[in-house]
């Protein structure tokens, strides 16, 4: 697993201007047979990335195969990560090298899965998303800076920026590298006490 603490990320970005990208596209089901979390990056967007399911035949027009684009930030169309709950989608993005996904809308389960893997989903307005696509498609060397503390995303060069809102609890967790399971394990006693109370309630 990559670094857990997320504060400020500055990187060039990879544009994927397609709406409604479902997790079956991010990682097709036939690659879910692994029993570990590693190695899913090689099959990220597999069917969009290669002709005839052959890694030797990259599709030239697909963004991951375009030598102009590189970076730790994926910028994707509205409603990213819908469909199947497979966390493998988040693992594949992270394993490929992305630390941030920017979109104007995220599906619920994907968002949780991303956060649990320290992959930052940044939700921007439709207008700002369009602006990012326009700028990076014209000048792929443009960097984006995502500042979690300030909740801002900024396009270098033009200086265009936008505020994104982030759940305060989750923000604290990401800034410090805490994950939910550490917290839940720390309150196991309270959970057991709750179970006792709940049992008593049912008996009443």
């Amino acid at each position: 697993m990559n670094s857990r603490v997320i504060k400020i990320i500055t990187s060039t970005a990879v544009p994927l201007n397609v709406q409604n990208i479902d997790t079956d596209q991010i990682i097709p089901a036939r690659f879910l047979k692994s029993t570990t979390r590693d190695g899913f990056g090689q099959n990220l967007f597999r069917d969009w990335r290669y002709e005839n399911d052959d890694p030797g035949q990259p599709k030239a027009d697909f963004t991951l195969n375009n030598p102009l684009y590189d970076g730790r930030i994926l910028v994707a169309g509205k409603n990213f990560g819908c469909g199947s709950s497979r966390e493998h989608a988040a693992w594949a993005l992270k394993d490929y090298g992305f630390d941030v996904v920017v979109s104007s809308f995220f599906a619920d389960i994907f968002q949780n899965n991303a956060l649990n893997n320290f992959l930052l989903p940044v939700k921007v307005s439709d207008a700002f998303l369009e602006k990012i696509f326009t700028v990076i498609e014209a000048a792929p060397e443009t960097t984006l800076t995502v500042n979690l503390q300030e909740e801002t995303i900024t396009l270098a060069g033009t200086g265009d920026h936008e505020h994104f809102s982030f759940h305060p609890y989750k923000k604290t967790c990401l800034l410090n590298g805490f994950d939910d399971i550490d917290y839940l394990l720390s309150i196991r006693d309270e959970i057991t006490a709750f179970e006792e109370r709940k049992k008593a309630l049912v008996l009443q």
Partner: protein, 466 residues
């Protein structure tokens, strides 16, 4: 204060609320399957943590298993390893496993209700987005990722923000040939496949009340296909009579006590929802999808919508989707040739689905150039289909009754639709490549699938029923 059904269940399961943060939500029942659990067990072991409540966890192998020759070892090495790991993990952690070959094996969302494990008022999770199916019993049931599977194994809890609440009313009598599957495909086509993202949906109204439990499960199953975390329906006499006498259903004195408790699981009269939607049953026709997300549905006699009014990006995506399907805007689907029929999945693989198909095809033969796969949702459904003579009806018609599993719904095993071929599928997703790379999926009801299997082309079942 008036409360919704969802709030009543949610509030009973809050262990504590983190200030400015999510609720710690207690989970009553956790279903586990072979594909989304191995990493969770591994990580748990790395932390040296045990499973907190093994008795509240139930496991099955369903996603990645063959649907023929289940008595033989699994030939695909990776699949075999995954299934073996589930077996080992369940053994190690004392978790009940209804594995391959077990008399109760089947698709996780079919066996939970079938065994009476799913009960009103519960919180239920599983590493599968169609966990929403269990909401048909008046439960809060939703899909989770593998990290969350690990959390629930370790602590029986999740950190959750309370979702917004939507209520969808469906009222009136459904027309002939119109089923629960058409109801939910109609709803999704109206509110779009992300129209309920961020919401939990309660389904209400006379149409829902008149549905059997299996039909209600079909409706709740596809809540996720409009983006919702889950869907639920208040329990009633239909629920209780379905549940009575099942393996895990409460017995003796506990049964009337439970029913009394469950009857209170209703949204109060003045309960407030963030959004309410009203649908009339008379407006619902048999539905079919033409595109690559479940919101792209039309009535079987309808035309594919035009791109007029879409912005450039929208039009680009729309044309790509139609190109993938090899359809054109304003085209009618009725009468188009199909290659495969898949009747199965957690949406439509229960005994009522199979009975409905059997009663329609009895005495008929499938079209010569169509391949028909029927995959029962569980071993119990399979057994029942054999005992009721349904299997014989299928065989006489040239349909193949396979063995239970998720099968061609997600094509993780060998049940794949070849590239470019059209498949009318009773499953829940028509995404690109979902049923196999390049496969073209048309979602529809078991009745529409059955009628099209007989003719060999997309058919309006109403033309063949009195």
């Amino acid at each position: 204060m008036a409360k919704t059904l969802f709030e009543k269940i949610w509030e009973k399961h809050i262990v504590k609320t983190i200030p400015d943060g999510p609720d710690v939500l207690y989970i009553d029942t956790h279903f586990v399957h072979e594909v989304t659990s191995p990493q969770a067990f591994k990580s748990l072991e790395d932390r040296g943590v045990s499973v907190l409540r093994p008795k509240q966890v139930v496991a099955t192998a369903d996603h990645n298993i063959p649907t023929i020759n289940q008595h033989l070892p699994i030939t695909d090495k990776l699949s075999a390893t995954q299934v073996q790991q589930l077996t080992d993990n369940c053994k190690k952690h004392n978790i009940e496993l209804y594995g391959l070959g077990h008399a109760y094996n089947g698709i996780v969302h079919v066996i939970g209700p079938e065994l009476g494990i799913t009960q009103p008022g519960m919180t239920i999770v599983c590493g599968d987005s169609h966990t929403s199916t269990h909401g048909a019993f008046g439960t809060i049931a939703f899909g989770i990722g593998t990290s969350e599977v690990e959390m629930v194994l370790a602590t029986q809890c999740l950190l959750q923000n309370k979702p917004r609440l939507m209520r969808i009313h469906v009222d009136g009598m459904l027309g002939k040939g119109v089923t629960a599957k058409d109801v939910i495909l109609h709803i999704i086509s109206k509110i779009s496949f992300n129209g309920a993202t961020g919401y939990f949906v309660e389904f209400a109204g006379s149409t829902i009340r008149a549905m059997s439990m299996e039909a209600r499960m079909t409706v709740c199953n596809m809540s996720i296909e409009m983006g919702a975390r889950g869907g639920l329906i208040a329990p009633d006499e239909v629920t209780f009579s379905y549940m009575k006498g099942r393996k895990h259903t409460p017995v003796r004195d506990a049964w009337p006590e439970k029913i009394a408790e469950w009857r209170r699981l209703q949204s109060d009269k003045n309960a407030v929802f963030d959004k309410e939607i009203y649908i009339l049953a008379k407006d619902i026709q048999p539905m079919i999808t033409y595109g690559t997300n479940p919101g792209m549905g039309i009535s079987i006699k309808g035309k594919i919508p035009t791109s007029a009014g879409m912005d450039d990006n929208g039009r680009k995506v729309y044309y790509q989707c139609l190109a993938y399907m090899d359809f054109a805007e304003e085209e009618t689907l009725l009468g188009k040739k199909v290659d495969y029929i898949f009747i199965g999945s957690c949406t439509n693989s229960r005994i009522e689905d199979l009975r409905q198909v059997a009663s329609f095809i009895k005495g008929k033969k499938k079209a010569d150039d169509v391949e028909v796969w029927i995959v029962p949702g569980s071993r119990q459904v399979e057994k029942q289909a054999i005992e009721e003579g349904i299997q014989q009806i299928f065989e006489d018609a040239g349909f193949k009754l396979r063995q239970p599993g998720c099968s061609a719904c997600l094509a993780m095993n060998d049940d794949k639709i070849p590239a470019g071929k059209y498949c009318i599928s009773t499953s829940n997703r028509n995404f690109e490549g979902r049923q196999g790379a390049g496969a073209r999926t048309l979602l529809a009801s078991p009745l529409t699938a059955a009628a099209s299997a007989i003719t060999g082309y997309i058919t309006d079942v109403r033309e063949y029923i009195n």
